[in-house]
Symmetry: C2
Subunit: 139 residues, 2 copies
Amino acid sequence: MNISEAAKLSGLAAKTIRYYESIDLLDLPRRGANGYRRYQDGDVQTLCFLRQARQFGFNIDQCRLLLALYKNPQRRSAEVHHLVSEKLAEVDAHIRELGETRDLLAQLVGACPNDEASGCSIIDTLAGQPEQVVAEKKR
Amino acid sequence: MNISEAAKLSGLAAKTIRYYESIDLLDLPRRGANGYRRYQDGDVQTLCFLRQARQFGFNIDQCRLLLALYKNPQRRSAEVHHLVSEKLAEVDAHIRELGETRDLLAQLVGACPNDEASGCSIIDTLAGQPEQVVAEKKR
DNA sequence: CTAAGCCTTACAGCAACTAGAAGGTCAAGG
DNA sequence: CCTTGACCTTCTAGTTGCTGTAAGGCTTAG
């Protein structure tokens, strides 16, 4: 199959597939007589793997590692487990951080008069020195 | 004060301040006889404002809007309220999305044997077609 | 024969900085 | 007076993970 078919099946953009190839994340595919890239079912599996890994938040270098494990029948599942639980911890931390941000934003929204006047606690808070917000964060 | 002092007080990197200037987010500051940028307390307030707004997740263009409101004594607090509650909704959506990702990752971590053998449900799941994960997502 | 819809490469641009080079300025110490 | 180190200046290029655009070749249907 050609690249657009592989793209459709894998959920990646054709551009993205070429890009992955250009950064050596993917092996060079076989080419047809016309110079077109040709993909097999196994290649599509690999593309799917990458798409999912990216969706899970793994960056390109982490995908490289995961892909190496994926392709290596001698892998130890513990290695995979390690990578994934690290990512889980990262995502958890990110969520906590965003949660704090959300709470602060909600505070701002709640405290703003939301009217035609110029007085605005949001503006006042944002203009304040860092410590003020940090202090509120701790409460 | 010079730029590094303003940077320290505001919590922004000196490089970032110059960058903000280069994209017209900040006005050109006065310069000393030696060509060094000179900042006043009011400038530091503005820098703090930007730092906080960025930390709250506003992008540069949104910061431009917020900054205009900040500097405009004729602003209506409702405008500020609008911008901030939109951001709150965005952050909320982002958190929900990340929450789903986290749950899926936790599932993967839990299902992996985490041993010396090569069999690994994580690898298997990642290699699967999109629908499989989507289906799990819905459960 | 031509129009569309693929495919190819290569270069540019996005956000929001960050790093580095190459050089000017300033204050303190020997 | 000279040097050293910490500032400051501008400029260019790199980061991440693509995405857009241009300019051209292949393929297939009408």
